[in-house]
Symmetry: C2
Subunit: 416 residues, 2 copies
Amino acid sequence: VVVTREDCLARDAQDPIAWLRAEFAIPDPGVIYLDGNSLGRPSNKTLARLEHVLHEQWAAGLVESWDDWITLPLRAGDALGGAFLGAAPGQVVVCDGVTTNLFKAIRAALELRPGRRVIVADPDDFPTDRYLIAEIARDRGLTIRWLSSDIDEGLTPAALAEALDDEVALACLSLVAYRSGAFLDLAAVTEQVHDVGALVVWDLCHAVGAVPIALDAAGADLAVGCTYKYVNAGPGATGFLYAASGLHADLRNPMPGWMGQTRQFAMGPTYDPDPGVRRFMTGSTPMLGVAGVDSAVETLAPAGIEALRTKGVALTELLIALHDAWLAPLGFRLASPRDAARRGSHVSLEHPQALAMSQALRRHGVVPDYRVPDRLRLGPAPAYTRFVDVYDAMLVLRDLVLAGEHLAVPEDGTVT
Amino acid sequence: VVVTREDCLARDAQDPIAWLRAEFAIPDPGVIYLDGNSLGRPSNKTLARLEHVLHEQWAAGLVESWDDWITLPLRAGDALGGAFLGAAPGQVVVCDGVTTNLFKAIRAALELRPGRRVIVADPDDFPTDRYLIAEIARDRGLTIRWLSSDIDEGLTPAALAEALDDEVALACLSLVAYRSGAFLDLAAVTEQVHDVGALVVWDLCHAVGAVPIALDAAGADLAVGCTYKYVNAGPGATGFLYAASGLHADLRNPMPGWMGQTRQFAMGPTYDPDPGVRRFMTGSTPMLGVAGVDSAVETLAPAGIEALRTKGVALTELLIALHDAWLAPLGFRLASPRDAARRGSHVSLEHPQALAMSQALRRHGVVPDYRVPDRLRLGPAPAYTRFVDVYDAMLVLRDLVLAGEHLAVPEDGTVT
């Protein structure tokens, strides 16, 4: 055996950010939650903050609470940008959902490269990204050049080089792949794309709060992401958009609304966009979502992204070691990068009966994720997952497969 | 005096939906809130529902709560559509914000009239609508034909007729005007626009929950709206989009995401839109926003829109009568339709010192709205506003103006 349960308990005892788990609301201590990469757990701070928004700000403060809310999308953006994105203030706004922000970012980027007719995209990217890019390309008469990414290992510099030339307007890429967890080199990819005069629009959904991101240092152009995974801001919480300050003056929001207007309460006849990133706002932002982001960053920032990343690597290394020892002999295959430096905070395990196993796991109080057709996706979020949780979950998985328990589960259950 | 305080108390005692006020959280019974047309008050049901989403669904249920959430945007849409929009099931989805939904609706409608080059719009419409229409027109190479609307009385059939011909692809109109409260005839306007072969995209923000709306009966095409005003779903709560079922097959979402995909968890290579209104969904919807809408409809539906409308008319009639008696002599002017049938549930009063007055009113515990440059906008939401509240508020306004109190207030205060 590579590691014992006692080893794991010892690692938890020595974990410098073990205290962070107590900051989270965990009404179900018997559940092992390995789907924080889909919907993160709420922190106590976030629950308290949303209660405050409901009772003090909405019910009691009524419309006057807009005095606070009106600037919160930018304040929460600065907080998120500082803690997790390597973004100096004034470049991140918390507003709308990922799809809407991705649409705005891609369309704005395309206008900066009007003569170029190609969008580079990844056929293994999350569906929304692919569907959206396809529709934008159709609408603008552009061509999509699909990358040759490896479904488990992600994109290589050589595969990217093949797709790049001076016809490329932009590449739209996920920093951490939604299925495999493959983690790209932000600075190197940005530089490689910039070298042909193109821009990069980054999707940070599976990266933000899980891996260090240094957008400013990488010279990034535009980025978007969600906040309901490793940021733990709430189900469907508000997304964010980053735009490098040097680009602001030339970025056009294709979907302008009054919240992006310079003097929004003047309600003037023509749209005069805010000089900064606020130009990407549209209408009134869901304040429960934005407050969720703000309080979630407050929860995680004291731990710091470096410590979260260190623990995330250790948790997934443990998961892979146990896979190698226990599951590989049972027909599992690791479907994520083995190199920790090239992997985010989740791991996919391939097995033909993955769906049935995910259902059997839930009956044992272990919550995994499942991705069609044959992958268990396991995300031991470093903020609240213990080493012993990973150990126990892998043990449950091994034992139920050994016992053939999953074979009794119908394959038509609900999949989320 | 046209009416006494005792008359108002008597009307409250006879009000058939007086019970509805007790369904709302009113921690500040001393405050007279006349800005429900900007941010509605929360009902107790809505607060309880959002607590449930926070604690039972998110913290305890975790990702498995998506089993409920995944269909809620359509269930809440059906509930909203049935209670307030005159829409049969399957035509309304609660998702995204107003700007995003308006963008999707306008772009989808334009694709149904490819040869036509004109968008008809109202120069007095809410800024977001105007900015968005201007940007879409610029992008698509279309012309905007601005209507000659009266700033106080709204659009007349004759003014609309002037703008309509067979070059018009669509008209984008607000059913109730954001400033004056002018209330159009949904069926007549729709028919008038249809008569030239064009479509109407309705903005229902200031109408939904305040006036009866019969989209299906009017043969409406597409409509959008917010839910944080008379629906009381929460600050920045999720918006909605209505699309008539007969159009679904031909409506293209210009911003497709995985939640609009037929088999969304198959994550297939190409976008295959849901056959129904779900095709207008983008990504993961803010569940606190959608649950807010669902519970808000549950709160109001037992009263019914007809009773809410009857009371809304009575409240604004009272407000106008008191204006005529007390405020007109002090230099105020009614800046809303005098005909109740042509007016929503809010009223604007014009006065050069409106800003200072709005600030002075707040110091007396009366919360009005203000719109540049010279309008007090008063929205006595029928769900929780009493006749005596309108009486008391107008009395406070009269007396502070008579005393010249507002003249001492600096004009640079915060305006929301």
